[in-house]
Symmetry: C2
Subunit: 305 residues, 2 copies
Amino acid sequence: MKAHKMSLLVTGSLGVDTLETPSGKRDIALGGSALYFSFAARLFTPVRLVGVVGEDVPHELLDVFKGYPIDTAGLEIRKGSKTFRWHGSYLKDMNEAVTVGVQLNVLAEQGPKIPSQFCDSKFVFLANTHPALQQQMLASLKGVKLSVADTMNYWIANEPAELRKLLGKIDGLVLNDGEVRQLTGERNLVVAARQVLRMGPKFVVVKKGEHGALMATKDLEFVTPAFPADTVVDPTGAGDSFAGGMMGYIASQGEFSVAALRRGIAYGTVVATFTISDFSLDGLKRASRSDVDSRLASFQQAMLY
Amino acid sequence: MKAHKMSLLVTGSLGVDTLETPSGKRDIALGGSALYFSFAARLFTPVRLVGVVGEDVPHELLDVFKGYPIDTAGLEIRKGSKTFRWHGSYLKDMNEAVTVGVQLNVLAEQGPKIPSQFCDSKFVFLANTHPALQQQMLASLKGVKLSVADTMNYWIANEPAELRKLLGKIDGLVLNDGEVRQLTGERNLVVAARQVLRMGPKFVVVKKGEHGALMATKDLEFVTPAFPADTVVDPTGAGDSFAGGMMGYIASQGEFSVAALRRGIAYGTVVATFTISDFSLDGLKRASRSDVDSRLASFQQAMLY
């Protein structure tokens, strides 16, 4: 019953990435927002994964979950469809990927179905996808305690009406600094965050990459620097790992509170450092909860005054 | 004797600015690194000011120090010379000034002389100027406990040999993220900061504007976000106010310690928010120590988890 009370569902992308960074190149790397989110969140609580891949999916992407508390009952392998592929390069700027190529493939088709045994999930993260699909996913669930969504520049520009509808239905929004400025037309991040709150969510978390994060509720703002990482091999998945660490910790508490959100943001910041320390999922996959707790202690030490 | 033990000397620019920001324009605004530094540091400890202006100096720039614990015995009004002038615009980017025009005037001549009664100063801040002049200033002082310098892109590019000599003589270096990358050729700020330490200083503070600061010694890194400010009227002097708050607090402790440096960085972060809240010196001039302490408490609250 305890696991049920803390049940965390994520729906997002799963795919195959080609990655180029100053440290080297990886040709067939596991990727996707839901992959990184799940492996970050599983450090704190069991995860229910909902996503869709094509029948060409490499077996590594199906096998990677084995031995981890990630329930893949919601992972659909769709006949006649192809898996999402993304080719990104950080050769110009480690802080922002250049998309060399993208094949949406199965992500451009209808969304995955949420298995009936997942419909009682209490904590939900709607990773970046079409905001109409995010609403449809949310509508399939009953008794949700906390719903949080991510979005991106593409939907802000091309689906503003659906995005505004989504914002009226979710508890929290996670997005990066460029996106919150684009969504609100406001450069100052504190002012921009407050404008997002007026669109519906009870809280907004603005990810600033190597500069940390800003969180706002109607009553307060919270800021955190990034962990001072000296080794950044591959930034792919840092933002999704941040969200996974944050939501995983909150769900593990059984109830949403601003205190849990603040501590979740600190955990998310720390979990993301394992992701960027190696290519693809390699660094995050190896991390244990005690690794994370020990790095959180160093992080607190690095901020104390 | 106590004030003597804590004596803080600053040498840097004093001048007249023309400022353009989205909030408006100011034509004859008081400015210069030593001005902002002094008014920030005086919140914590008396300040000894060394600088030079021309005979055209507006009386406002001489009168502004009255009633504050800033000793202007080292402020030279040079006959036949003209005061430094800078025209900056933040209309394109609030995070980085565009220099519309600059007239070095008296700053291109020989440096000011340090009055003999200032030569026993224990804490010294060498604000940005030619690194040969910074070395000459430092050499005039006896029994310095802590010497810290600022620099800028111009000297990194054009006086690398003199700058390296300076780095071998000072205890601490303060510079911004772009400058530390330029100085070391390294993008990662933690790695860049460690490279600076190998050039001589015992600590380096990297200012990241609206993203806070990073400090490194050979034993540790320390990070702090910026205070989440919702009102930024004029960013001019934010970095110098940060340095002034930091050095003022350290000097007020009578001895240098890493603990004092960390708390000094937190104070510097908070003091800079008063500077940017209004044009020129107006916001910083009005601030009292109790205003600063109260904002530091809010800042700690905004970071706690």
